[in-house]
Amino acid sequence: MPEWTSERVLALAPDPSSASAGQSLANTRKWSALGRSDRAIWGLCQGSGKTPYQSRVDLAEPAFKCSCPSRKFPCKHGLGLLLVFAKDAASLPVGDEPDWVAEWIDGRSERAQKTLERTAAVAEKPVDVESQTKRAAQREARVRDGVTGCRMWLEDLVRRGLAAAQADSSADWERAAARLVDAQASGLASYVRRIAGTVSSGSGWDVRATDLIGQLHLLLCAAERLDDLPADLAGDVRVALGRSQSRDEALGSEGVEDRWTAIGQVIEEDERFRVARTWLAGHRTKRRALILEFAAGGQPLERAIAAGAVFEGELRFYPSRLPLRAIVAARSDALPAPSEPAPPLSETVDEGLGRYAEALASNPWLTRWPLVLSQARPLREDAGWLIVDDDDRGLPLRGSFTQGLQLWRLVAATGGSPATIVIEWNGTSALPIALLGGAHGGFLDLASRWPA
């Protein structure tokens, strides 16, 4: 376990205001009954209420728990406590864990143990085949209705023309999407919503919308002949249509052990939920993996893996023709991140695009793919900003990225010189998400406001 520094602690903050609030609590005067054991630290912090909050941190993960009502995770008390520890461990006297600390940590270890047992048990679990088959059949029937409805909607759309559809109200689009959600085809609904968002997105909107229409058509064609498709492809089509995958499916697959680097993390938010996409790259297997985490409404994301983290661990991939989405079945403590990016992870623009094309051949509905571009530099031309590699091959940067401060953080951190830049590629534009090495040195998370 590397030593805790304030920088490392603040990297765990869910947002800048939490980081700021945590720092104002990073003072022993704010705390009473501080203590630590070899696995945890704890303390009491007086809030606005009568009873002080019980705050505790499991140092192994780290994991946080606090009796305060905050919905942020970790809350400012947890951050403050860990900051006190990072500044001067001696300010927390070594002692016996109070019950409210010991019970929580013991509970955590038990749960971790259970997960492992479940992992082992999934393979042998007896299944109620009959009822499962029945449920699946009902679902398939409903989805088939959704596919038929969506087909009619799509044909109507291209007959009327996109220009006419531009005049449709957002309620019209949303009604079409909602019908598909009801038919348990949320993947189709999401295409409808994305097309709706594209038709008024400015220059080049017609090509972008037609691109999406083409993808949707391909998905509908696949859905219409689901029974003729190979089993793994049919599975991918079901997922693209909106079937949610359960953890057990991944747990049932074979583990892939490697040293993994979290090459980037993107958090996206809409009115319904928040998604954290964490891209991993395996050092020995050279595999790419995607860890998805969802949180509904205002719920916090746990983000168990910090951007830039390196660990030894076992991933289990969800079954697919292109196994990409995975869960972490077992992992070591975070290892010190190397100051230089591991060479086997990185690629040129041509190599990266080649891998992307192969990935598309396996899963044509792939929406994004990570490229770890070595010796890449930002470049401005009249037509816009690009990422250019050592062979002078350039990928255009996404407009949303170049309009914000993120672009300038990338430019400032590279100093205009070559560095390893991690991007998400969607087939037409690049979204930089992290910087490895370069003038700045180390890992720079471009998806968050502050470097970790």
Partner: protein
């Protein structure tokens, strides 16, 4: 697989047809199903077969040699300051960085520049703390360039002056005035006949700074300008210019007002001069040219009003010369005069303009003896002083026994730049350790504590904390706690730069 340009091209053609709709685009695209299949194929081929173009260009290289980075803890604090976007604290961080010869790191620089570009007051230190990286970034993003007034004279200053819009001309004039005052005056003179009255006045305002007797002939001529606002601005500048003809004329007029009698009372008593004031009986039309307003504001008699304006624009040395007394003695000798109040206001005006410490201190003591204390005049008095004199005056004023807690705080807030450690310590020692209970007083305390928390020397943080803790009955309110936190944060910040 087809070549990507054609897939992209086909997709564009299909998009054109999709936009107007197949019903209108005609039969060439066939049934929607066939059309959609073409779109799906083209879309997939375009994405899978996209080939990057070659781009040989490079961004201008960032400076390789730059100042060393500030310590990590200090850099972390800067991020926090940007999150709370507190201009005073960010500027203080910048000053500390410059003092220690270090800079903020590259990735934070765009956040700093973006914030800085939005500020109305763009402190040059904030730009400077980014080192050469900041300069480099501002060449890439023009929105972050320093405003003209903060840098050396821009190239093409004469052209901007001749053809620019008024705000640009003012910016250019400001930078030229700083670098070369005579050239700035020449610029103003070069277009003077064509410029409108509002512009002429604005340009004269710029010339107020870095004024010298070399400006006098031009300003003296402007006293006869056809616009009153221009005439008044010229008079204001000349009145603030020691040795100017206008000041001499005013001083002569003042000499006619001030009368001194050396009354001797008995053999053993020393001769004690008495000062009498005789305000003018009539308005002399010649005064108008020198900026004296004839019509008094409401509540002031016309004679007192003329006197005030004449005394305020004349040399303070006249008083000492006429009476042989020091400022304290003169103010005592004026005590019996019918016009003592008007004379004090005029003298305060003259003293603050001249930055005269002896007069300011003497006047401040008199002002404090009055209740309620005239904080506006006191503030004008201390503003003209050097920081050492200012602190001396404020301490002496705050030490007056009749002042309450809130009034003492108010006196301290008159010092609006960084407090010395000595002043901070002594100021905090002067605040009574007793609770403030009146809601109105509490509000004033909160405001004063906020202002003081930005200026007080961080070494005095504990005294500041204790004073505020004892000023309320319960635990300190949120706003008072914020002020205490701010000083603690500043204290940490100063330490972070030295560790």
């Amino acid at each position: 697989m087809n070549e990507s340009p054609s897939a992209r091209h086909r997709l564009r053609l299909l998009a054109a047809a999709a936009t107007i709709g197949l019903d209108r685009a005609g039969e060439s695209h066939g049934h929607p199903d066939a059309f959609l299949t073409q779109a799906a194929t083209a879309a997939l081929q375009a994405r899978a077969g996209w080939r990057p173009a070659t781009h040989a260009g490079r961004l201008p290289a960032a400076p390789t040699a730059d100042q060393p980075l500030a310590p990590a803890a200090a850099r972390a604090t800067l991020r926090r300051l940007l999150d709370i976007a507190d201009p005073d604290l960010i500027e203080e961080w910048a000053q500390l960085a410059i003092k220690h010869g270090v800079r903020a790191d590259g990735p934070v620089a765009p956040v700093v520049l973006e914030w800085w570009a939005e500020q109305t007051r763009r402190a040059p230190a904030v730009f400077e703390m980014l080192g050469r990286t900041g300069e480099w970034l501002s060449t890439l993003n023009p929105e972050w360039r320093r405003p003209a007034a903060t840098v050396a004279v821009p190239d093409g200053a004469d052209e901007i002056w001749a053809a620019g819009r008024t705000p640009e001309r003012i910016a250019v004039l400001t930078s030229v005035r700083r670098a070369d005052p005579a050239r700035a005056r020449a610029l103003v003179e070069s277009t003077w006949p064509q410029d409108g009255a509002a512009e002429r006045k604005a340009f004269l305002e710029v010339l107020f700074d870095h004024r010298s007797l070399a400006d006098e002939p031009f300003l003296e001529a402007a006293l006869d300008d056809r616009s009153k606002q221009v005439r008044r601005q010229a008079a204001t500048t000349l009145a603030a210019l020691p040795g100017s003809g206008l000041r001499q004329r005013m001083t002569e007029r003042a000499a006619a007002i001030i009368g001194v009698t050396h009354a001797s009372r008995g053999l053993l008593r020393r001769a004690q001069p008495q000062v009498t004031l005789t305000p003018p009986l009539q308005f002399d039309p010649a005064w108008d040219r020198d900026g004296v307003e004839e019509r008094p504001p409401a509540g002031v008699g016309p004679r007192a009003w003329w006197m005030r304006q004449i005394l305020a624009a004349s040399d303070l040395a006249l008083w000492e010369h006429r009476t042989g007394l020091d400022p304290e003695g003169i103010l005592s000798a004026l005590q019996e005069s019918e016009f003592v109040g008007d004379a004090r206001l005029a003298l305060a005006d003259a003293a603050s303009r001249a930055g005269n410490a002896a007069w300011s201190l003497a006047l401040a003591r008199r002002l404090v003896a009055d209740t309620p204390v005239d904080l506006a005049t006191l503030s004008a008095l201390v503003r003209g002083l050097t920081s050492t004199d200012r602190e001396r005056v404020c301490l002496e004023v705050a030490d007056q026994p009749q002042l309450g807690t809130v009034e003492r705080w108010a006196v301290f807030t008159l010092i609006d730049d960084e407090w010395s450690p000595e002043f901070s310590r002594r100021a905090m020692a002067l605040v009574p350790r007793q609770p403030v209970r009146e809601p109105r007083d509490l509000l004033a305390l909160v405001r004063a504590a906020d202002a003081v928390s930005r200026r007080i020397a961080p070494q005095a943080v504990d005294a500041f904390d204790q004073v505020l803790a004892s000023s309320t009955d319960g635990p300190p309110s949120d706003s008072l706690s914020r002020s205490i936190e701010r000083v603690r944060l500043r204290a940490d910040m100063h330490k972070e730069f030295t560790s």
